[in-house]
Symmetry: C2
């Protein structure tokens, strides 16, 4: 039988777990290496040494501070893997390697850390990426909030054409890969302890395979991808309009949204266009390809509700307009304040 | 004249600065892009798209939670740039690209953020790396502590021989590039408001050019580099001994240490072998090369106090021993607890 002292030592994160000493090594080998272990990570050198298949690579970083850290459909670890995988995928890259930096609050239960690490392992396997390098810091109780995770990632760029917001042209068509606002409304309803029937689940998911399908099939007819996370579809479309100096027009009735999410947004007075998604992407394609892309990706498990929601034009450059259900048109501006802090 | 409301808005970080909306964009364009701006960062896509010169690359990550964030010799931003530059350099890579993820506590003064960003800009220029992608999150007051920074980085590996802890052989010689324990004792004396004459300064510095000098001159006679940060020289040498299954012997009287640092360690009862360095590296070289490497790097501005401090052997594998000033020998174990939390 283990003594109480040993049990406390095993159950909660202590400052010494971030010291670079024996407890750090124990945490790394028993928890991180046993979950993520691969040849490169196991060497525990200061850097991972990697072979790239291409000389053109994508590089991305994201920190995750979501509250709560466990939520219907996922947790902060799954979100951290998907977030960086998706950022890489949005540039058309095939995500390959992730780094992982933990900032843990003293006293955080090791059992929760274990759950989150397991969830990252599963998410990384599903997305076919390896976690090859990492770092752990511990801050004293009250100087952090449970757990923050940074993931950075490297992807290989195999396609030969240009892709990005700056490639968007007038007459392009705009697709969303599925229902909007699921992640943000899931987090908000958890945090405010609101319950909806059916329960609202986060849509957190890896989009890299969907992106590859579209690139492989449609090639240079694809002009840009973006995952509308913080700031939602509204922020992403505004970024598109600004980067490409075009105007964007979408139609409210074309935008897919789950019933419960729509109801929650109405009750709380929140516009779903501004709410974060974590498993959806906007796809901008050449005129005439919109319907074909939608039909093609609808068969893919992550995109059954994909829809063409609007188009690009020369009208009102750098602005986004939406045609409402009443038939009127209004501008969709960038959000100014913060509706939903710590959504990701 | 600006109104008080506008002044508050401009002076402190608000939750909305992390929203993905208008205030986020303002912060990014006015602060981050104006300091770090380069072609890739300016595109503000989800990932940076980069050309690698080599197909073998190094990838590293580190989060920085140092307290205080400003200290003699540097600040958290400078440390964050040097930390990842050095981790990349330790694998023999030429550091090229950095990512930068900020987790900022609501209410943090924007003027302090500006100072830190400027300091990162200068550090990146000195180390000849570009900050190509970034992320900003804001957490509510009391849920973080001023500012945490993650930097991840990519370096090009140009040398053709193996390098790393696993390459260390019996009879190899061990060099330290300069005085030990400066960074840790600087932070500790600041935090405890102890003053020493002369003031103890952090040694934070980019080691990439020093590493390149050594590799270019001595090639495969160099077996491993490591920067002894958290856990100090003691932790790094223990990692060397374990990874290479060798024993390591060092001599106390050969280890360079500044007078004020030594005095501070004696007063506080701290063993400088366990204290973090941020601008020094251990270099392990083939037998017979130690003195030559020391003489060569002593001319380099960052290594005037470089010294050969010991050697590798088959004795006591996986253990580190030190010969004390009294002529006795003791084992140097990994630190178990945490002497100095939030040192980096």
């Amino acid at each position: 039988m283990s003594s109480p002292v040993v049990r406390i030592y095993q159950e909660n994160i202590q400052l010494a777990h971030g010291s670079g000493g024996e407890l750090s090594n124990k945490l790394i080998s028993e928890l991180f290496l046993s979950a993520f272990g691969n040849d490169e990570l196991n060497k525990m050198n200061d850097s991972a040494v990697l072979q790239t298949k291409t000389k053109k690579i994508a590089f991305s970083t994201d920190s995750f501070v979501v509250d709560p850290i466990f939520f219907p459909g996922g947790d902060i670890g799954k979100l951290a893997v998907h977030g960086t995988v998706n950022d890489l995928a949005m540039s058309g890259a095939v995500p390959k390697f992730l780094s992982c930096g933990f900032i843990i609050e003293e006293g955080f239960p090791i059992s929760d850390l274990q759950k989150i690490v397991n969830s990252m392992k599963v998410a990384a396997e599903e997305a076919e990426v390896n976690i090859v390098t990492g770092d752990t810091k511990v801050v004293p109780k009250g100087k952090g909030d449970k757990l923050f995770i940074n993931t950075s990632g490297i992807g290989f760029i195999e396609h030969q054409f240009s892709l990005g917001a700056e490639c968007i042209q007038p007459d392009d068509e705009i697709i969303i890969s599925g229902t909007i606002a699921d992640h943000g409304m899931c987090i908000l309803s958890q945090r405010e302890q609101l319950s909806f029937e059916p329960e609202i689940e986060s849509d957190t998911a890896p989009l890299n395979k969907l992106v590859k399908l579209v690139i492989d099939k449609f090639g240079s007819a694809v002009h840009a991808f973006r995952d509308p996370t913080r700031g939602g579809v509204a922020a992403s479309l505004n970024e598109f309009a600004k980067s490409s100096n075009t105007g964007i027009q979408i139609e409210d009735e074309l935008i897919p949204i789950n019933k419960a999410v729509k109801a929650a947004c109405e009750i709380l007075g929140i516009d779903p266009l501004y709410v974060a998604n974590e498993g959806k992407c906007l796809i901008v394609v050449e005129r005439g390809y919109g319907d074909e892309v939608v039909q093609y990706i609808k068969h893919y498990p992550l995109a059954p509700n994909a829809a063409k929601i609007g188009q690009v034009s020369k009208k009102y450059p750098q602005q986004v307009q939406i045609k409402t259900l009443l038939g009127t048109t209004r501008f969709v501006d960038l959000p100014v304040g913060e509706q939903l802090p710590r959504i990701c």
